[in-house]
């Protein structure tokens, strides 16, 4: 690793990935790699409180934020479920989110006198993932044996909503009160379109399969996240909801904690903040004319990070995913379902997967997310037989390897990708904190475009994005 590159996120032991010792080389160790800090690109994005400080700073911020929240409904002896999502643990190694959960627990106990405080952590499509995080951060001990991972196939509870019956996870709602503990990472903007973003877990992490399937099939590409609002506004949830505690994230790191009893007021604040911070970096990715993307991060392919953005954001960077005039982002399930058996869109108006991405190298990632579509749409090189076997054994990826080729090592994969793509511009999704590991040539390009992007977002896009969501910049 050169002095100018950033430390990638370390591989970890998990049932969803290859053994760390089988990861032979990191992309950051390729010749000619350097990095670019988010701060260099966009000095207007606030300095993070983490990284840069001890994790205790998270507790300080959480304590200050929650001090303004009314917890008076909770009485001694009442049961409280702190609801979390696996997503939070994927941010900056997971410790900041774990510390938020611990702090919320301690404050509830201290201010209300109750000891019946449980942690329920939802998952995506890897049903043991939250269990792994609970063990890793010893949250089970911290919660006196009352910490559990919950999965979308677990026991249901019917939730009557304004649009009809939907289904939640019984264990999420089996306490008298709930505290929603989430993060503001822009993450799946292709799904939520930054509309009610912080409510999303009510339609996902805390929801049954029927609800999650409804989100991705039954409503439209811009209205899907209404499922989360419908559930949040339901009598069941309203009767239990106390407050939301949100880990505020920007592309440079953790910038604070927002806690409120009024989730909609909080959502407006976070919408402005996220559009402003993440909007710029997403737009900068749009300016990359051609490149090779290297996946090299402990996470499933679309959820691997570069500069605080996930690979799925790059898949759709050829359009403006925040623009609600645009029906479909290039990657979302409503787009994926629109492709025919030959891998072509069935009708006009389906934007292609980011064509600037000439090849993808999958050096290190996890199984457990349907990813065959990505390999079908972009030339994909998988590094090493262990990674190939991992995807071949995954029931969610029966055809991923049919569309990919295997390279013996990372350096050979890069040489091959460069022949395909005719470019030396490389971007690495390796979870590095505060910036992106890139090739020298891509660093130059991104640096040269940053000011232009900042102006575009400030002058043209922010006013439009806010107007589309009926959110005031003063929120």
């Amino acid at each position: 690793m050169s002095k100018t590159t950033l430390m990638p996120m370390q591989p970890r032991v998990t049932q969803y990935g290859i053994a760390p010792e089988n990861l032979k080389m990191r992309a950051v160790d390729l010749a000619g790699m350097t990095s670019i800090l988010v701060k260099e690109l966009f000095p207007g994005i606030p300095d993070p409180v983490y990284p840069g400080n001890e994790v205790s700073v998270i507790r300080e911020h959480a304590t200050a934020a929650i001090s303004k929240v009314d917890l008076s409904k909770i009485k001694p002896g009442d049961s409280v479920n702190i609801l979390g999502s696996h997503h939070g643990f994927t941010l900056l190694g997971g410790e900041p989110y774990a510390e938020v959960l611990r702090t919320v627990r301690d404050i509830i106990a201290e201010r209300t006198g109750t000891q019946d405080i449980r942690l329920r952590v939802g998952v995506g499509l890897r049903f043991r993932e939250s269990e792994e995080y609970i063990k890793r951060f010893e949250l089970d001990k911290y919660f006196d044996g009352k910490a559990e991972g919950i999965a979308p196939v677990d026991r249901p509870i019917v939730i009557e909503t304004e649009i009809g019956a939907l289904y939640g996870l019984k264990k999420a709602y089996d306490a008298k009160w709930i505290i929603h503990t989430h993060n503001s990472d822009v993450r799946e903007v292709h799904f939520h379109r930054q509309v009610d973003r912080i409510l999303k877990p009510f339609g996902m992490s805390y929801a049954r399969i029927e609800t999650r399937s409804t989100y991705h099939h039954n409503l439209g590409p811009r209205g899907a996240n209404f499922i989360a609002r419908a559930i949040f506004d339901s009598p069941l949830v309203q009767e239990k909801f106390i407050a939301a505690v949100i880990l505020q994230v920007s592309p440079s790191g953790i910038i604070g904690i927002d806690a409120d009893n009024d989730i909609y007021r909080q959502n407006e604040r976070i919408t402005v903040e996220s559009l402003n911070h993440y909007g710029r970096l997403v737009r900068l990715l749009n300016k990359i004319d051609k490149c090779i993307a290297v996946i090299d991060c402990p996470g499933p392919i679309p959820y691997t990070f570069a500069g605080g953005l996930i690979f799925a954001n790059f898949l759709s960077a050829n359009v403006d995913p925040f623009d609600l005039d645009l029906p479909l982002t290039p990657y979302c399930f409503f787009a994926e379902m629109a492709y025919n058996r030959q891998g072509q869109p069935r009708f006009p108006g389906v934007p292609p997967i980011n064509p600037s991405m000439k090849a993808v190298i999958n050096n290190y990632s996890f199984k457990g997310y349907p990813s065959s579509f990505f390999a079908e749409q972009t030339p994909t090189i998988v590094v090493g037989n262990e990674m190939a076997k991992l995807f071949e054994s995954c029931p969610q990826n029966p055809e991923y390897m049919k569309h990919a080729v295997v390279s013996k090592d990372l350096e050979s994969a890069v040489k091959f990708a460069q022949k395909i793509g005719d470019t030396d511009q490389i971007i690495v999704f390796d979870g590095a904190e505060g910036g992106i590991n890139v090739s020298e040539s891509l660093r130059e390009l991104m640096t040269s475009k940053a000011n232009e992007v900042s102006e575009e977002v400030k002058q043209d896009l922010m006013p439009k994005w806010l107007r589309q969501r009926n959110v005031s910049n003063r929120a």
Partner: protein
């Protein structure tokens, strides 16, 4: 198409007889005998659901000696019948409904026309819902109900019930939330235009733009 490469195996010494696996298997391949889970090897679709939720970690996935392929051939059925069923459920027959197995709405319709009356029987005939086990239950239920079938629930929690669609949301509700960024009407127009495209019923799809 589902390619089954693995098989679930129960360690009877670890199995506590809690029935979790039995209650969630999407193809009903698990039965309880003497308070132990028993997996029907011929029936197992290698979806990992039981292995992922067993509280005792008593189930492991092993490679099958020979992969098994499950698929249904749509051309066994009259295309108009497939089309009619799909359209009545607001699906294009070529629309992908299971992203893991690549199963399309027309294949689900074919399975129903082939006698499937429950999501489990649809899964057995198509392989759908045996990848992630999460994303495709709603379209399967939509197609079953569109065929006039009220599926009988299994003795478990494999699925709960049909859920609302964009077409069930009232105009009043749509109007109430339009200013918050939920573009229900535009999404509806967009999806309907795309549904009609290729079917010879309407104009070419035009992406709906806000006025």
């Amino acid at each position: 198409m589902k390619i089954i490469t693995t098989l679930a195996v129960v360690d009877p010494d670890k199995c506590s007889g809690c029935k979790t696996c039995y209650a969630i298997c999407p193809v009903l391949a698990i039965r309880m005998e003497n308070r132990k889970a028993v997996i029907d090897e011929g029936h197992c679709f290698g979806c990992n659901n039981c292995e992922q939720r067993c509280p005792e970690y008593a189930i492991t996935m092993v490679s099958r000696s020979e992969p098994r392929v499950v698929e249904i051939h749509v051309n066994r059925f009259h295309p108009d019948a497939i089309l009619d069923l799909c359209i009545s459920a607001k699906f294009h027959p070529e629309q992908v409904v299971c992203f893991c197995t690549g199963t399309r709405a027309g294949e689900i319709a074919a399975a129903i026309m082939d006698g499937a009356k429950t999501p489990e029987e649809v899964s057995l005939k198509t392989g759908a819902r045996t990848g992630c086990k999460v994303l495709c239950i709603a379209p399967i239920l939509r197609l079953l109900y569109a065929a006039g079938i009220t599926p009988q629930k299994p003795d478990g929690i494999q699925w709960c019930g049909n859920t609302p669609t964009l077409w069930d949301i009232s105009a009043e509700t749509m109007a109430k939330y339009a200013s918050h960024g939920f573009c229900f009407d535009l999404d509806k127009n967009f999806l309907e235009a795309n549904l009609a495209y290729e079917l010879g019923k309407g104009e070419n799809c035009k992406c709906q733009k806000r006025p």
